[in-house]
């Protein structure tokens, strides 16, 4: 029997990423200078970026779909990867965790996210999700001599494994009902057969599992501890990549497979979105550690992004995709500044920063304003598009709630600004500026300002 070889063109980006990750893993044994491995990782991202536009198509019998939607998310994952490598270079040496595997595992995690974004079948989705999740568990615990990093990794691992078991149970139910795991065929089958209680149970389990991945309340409990304990560069990586991948699969699974029960999942997601915005913004007020505060802020941002899914129009989904891109720049930028100031990551460590380093304080100010959503920064544009699309879809009351919580968020973001500009400098504030970290900060701050001033750069 001759087994036909499937068309491999749509998977080329993932193949390049995976092969490169494996080569880097081997190369790490020979090459002593880990920066070379890091730059090879960035080169891989460049190669994948070049290949993605040529890879459109379906393969493996519809299990793997490469289209403009997945290409956009892969673009976000590559930005996330490159910025993370840039901010990690010297930081990870200072943390005494300068293992070559670090970069290789970053590439594996990105490959997992890319597979998730392209999944046309729940089996492929699960495999991509596990590749991403298993890699991020290791990365969260990469400072293996640090008890906080161990704790972050074990908490992330336990809750992540629990959520993937929930996802699998949901998949097994939907498979038993429809005889297929293909997302499009499930959609067709449910369109003909209609909804049953078992479909709703399966949908609820899958919503719970994805809520873990995007850190939406009430499945957000892991996020603050994991974000605080993990190395800061990995916190930046985790706060963008898995969240974006989670939203990519939510769009694909709910709009295609569960299109028949849209009214039901919209109702559940409205509850989750309101709770997420409330928990994220209110809990962030009480935090004294800036990484923990940004963890709650990232929970809150997941709540805003859910509005794009709830609204259910194409414009809203596009607005959500733009929001994720903007969020990637402003969030990684803020974490890059945290890495830059090695005095500590407590809020009081930022006191008087404007006197010691005016430029760094000004850049942090831009990121904080962008996270609140004050014009002319990118954060304003993202929120504006998202909220406008939700209003157009008839969810004005939900947008009012989101705006109120967004106003609450100004309190804790501006507290960082107040500490920097209105408190006295107590002791020296050493900074560790390296060329790569400087480049990452320059890219993020420029993107935040450029998108804010010229929104046409992203809306097209």
């Amino acid at each position: 029997m001759i087994v036909p070889i499937p068309d491999l063109t749509p998977v080329t980006p993932e193949i390049i990423m995976t092969v490169s990750a494996m080569v880097l893993l081997m190369l790490e044994l020979i090459v002593k200078n880990k920066s070379i491995i890091a730059f090879l990782g960035i080169a891989t991202a460049g190669a994948v970026f070049y290949v993605i536009p040529m890879s459109y198509g379906e393969t493996f019998g519809g299990m793997f779909i490469s289209d403009e939607f997945s290409a956009y998310f892969k673009f976000i994952f590559l930005i996330n990867l490159v910025l993370t490598i840039l901010i990690s270079l010297k930081y990870i040496q200072r943390q005494k965790s300068n293992y070559g595997e670090y970069y290789s595992i970053l590439l594996f995690a990105t490959a997992g996210m890319m597979i998730m974004a392209s999944a046309g079948d729940l089996i492929v989705l699960y495999l991509g999700l596990e590749l991403m999740a298993l890699s991020t568990y290791i990365l969260a615990g990469i400072k293996r001599h640090d008890i906080k990093s161990n704790e972050a990794a074990i908490k992330y691992f336990l809750l992540g494994a629990f959520s993937s078991a929930l996802l699998l149970y949901g998949i097994s139910l939907i498979y038993g009902l429809t005889t297929t795991t293909n997302i499009y065929k499930i959609g067709e089958y449910l369109g003909e057969a209609g909804a049953s209680p078992a479909v709703l149970l399966s949908m609820a389990l899958i919503i719970a599992a994805f809520s873990f991945k995007i850190a939406a309340a009430p499945f957000h409990m892991w996020a603050p501890d994991v974000y605080q304990g993990a190395p800061t560069s990995i916190t930046a990586f985790m706060s963008v990549g898995p969240k974006a991948a989670g939203f990519a699969v939510i769009v694909r699974v709910f709009y295609v497979a569960f299109a028949e029960v849209q009214a039901d999942w919209t109702a559940i997601l409205i509850g989750i979105a309101i709770l997420t915005m409330a928990v994220g913004n209110i809990m962030a007020i009480a935090q004294t550690n800036i990484k923990r505060m940004l963890a709650y802020s990232s929970i809150a941002h997941a709540g805003y992004m859910l509005l794009g899914i709830i609204a259910g129009t194409q414009a809203a989904v596009e607005a959500m995709m733009v929001y994720i891109l903007i969020y990637a720049f402003m969030n990684i930028g803020a974490f890059a500044i945290i890495i830059l100031l090695e005095r500590g990551d407590e809020l009081k460590d930022y006191e008087g920063l404007a006197k010691a380093h005016p430029l760094i304080a000004a850049i942090m100010l831009v990121f904080m304003f962008s996270l609140i959503g004050i014009p002319p920064t990118a954060g304003f544009i993202g929120k504006f598009y998202l909220f406008k699309a939700a209003v157009d879809a008839g969810y004005t009351w939900l947008v009012v709630i989101a705006v109120i919580f967004s106003a609450i968020s100004a309190y804790y973001y501006l507290r960082v600004v107040m500490n920097m500009y209105m408190k006295e400098l107590k002791e020296e504030a050493p900074i560790y500026l390296t060329p790569s970290l400087g480049l990452a900060i320059l890219i993020t701050v420029l993107m935040v300002i450029i998108i804010g001033v010229m929104p046409s750069t992203v809306s097209g």
Binding site: N150, I154, F162, A165, Y169, Y175, P224, R292
Partner: protein, 100 residues
Amino acid sequence: MVPLEWYIGLSAVMFMIGVTGFLIRRNIIIMLLSIELMLNSVNISLVAFSHYLQDLTGQMLVLFIITVAAGEAAIGLAILVALFRNKAVAHTDEIAEMKG
């Protein structure tokens, strides 16, 4: 022949035991075992569905789940060993370096 409902019932009971064990037990090893129980309950229901629907996709997914579960257990235990070297506990109530 055993009816399909029995398999699904067994799978649901096993899954609930796993969820309960994960939520109420505080020993990390027991929590890991509970997760394995949840995954294997999924495997039972997938194989049963696959047999009764005469469709091989379910069994294909089972093979993937077993493989991934092995990798997951390896990583989970590795993280636990790293934690144990720094602090000799395997109890979640004693792992509380971060609060807030």
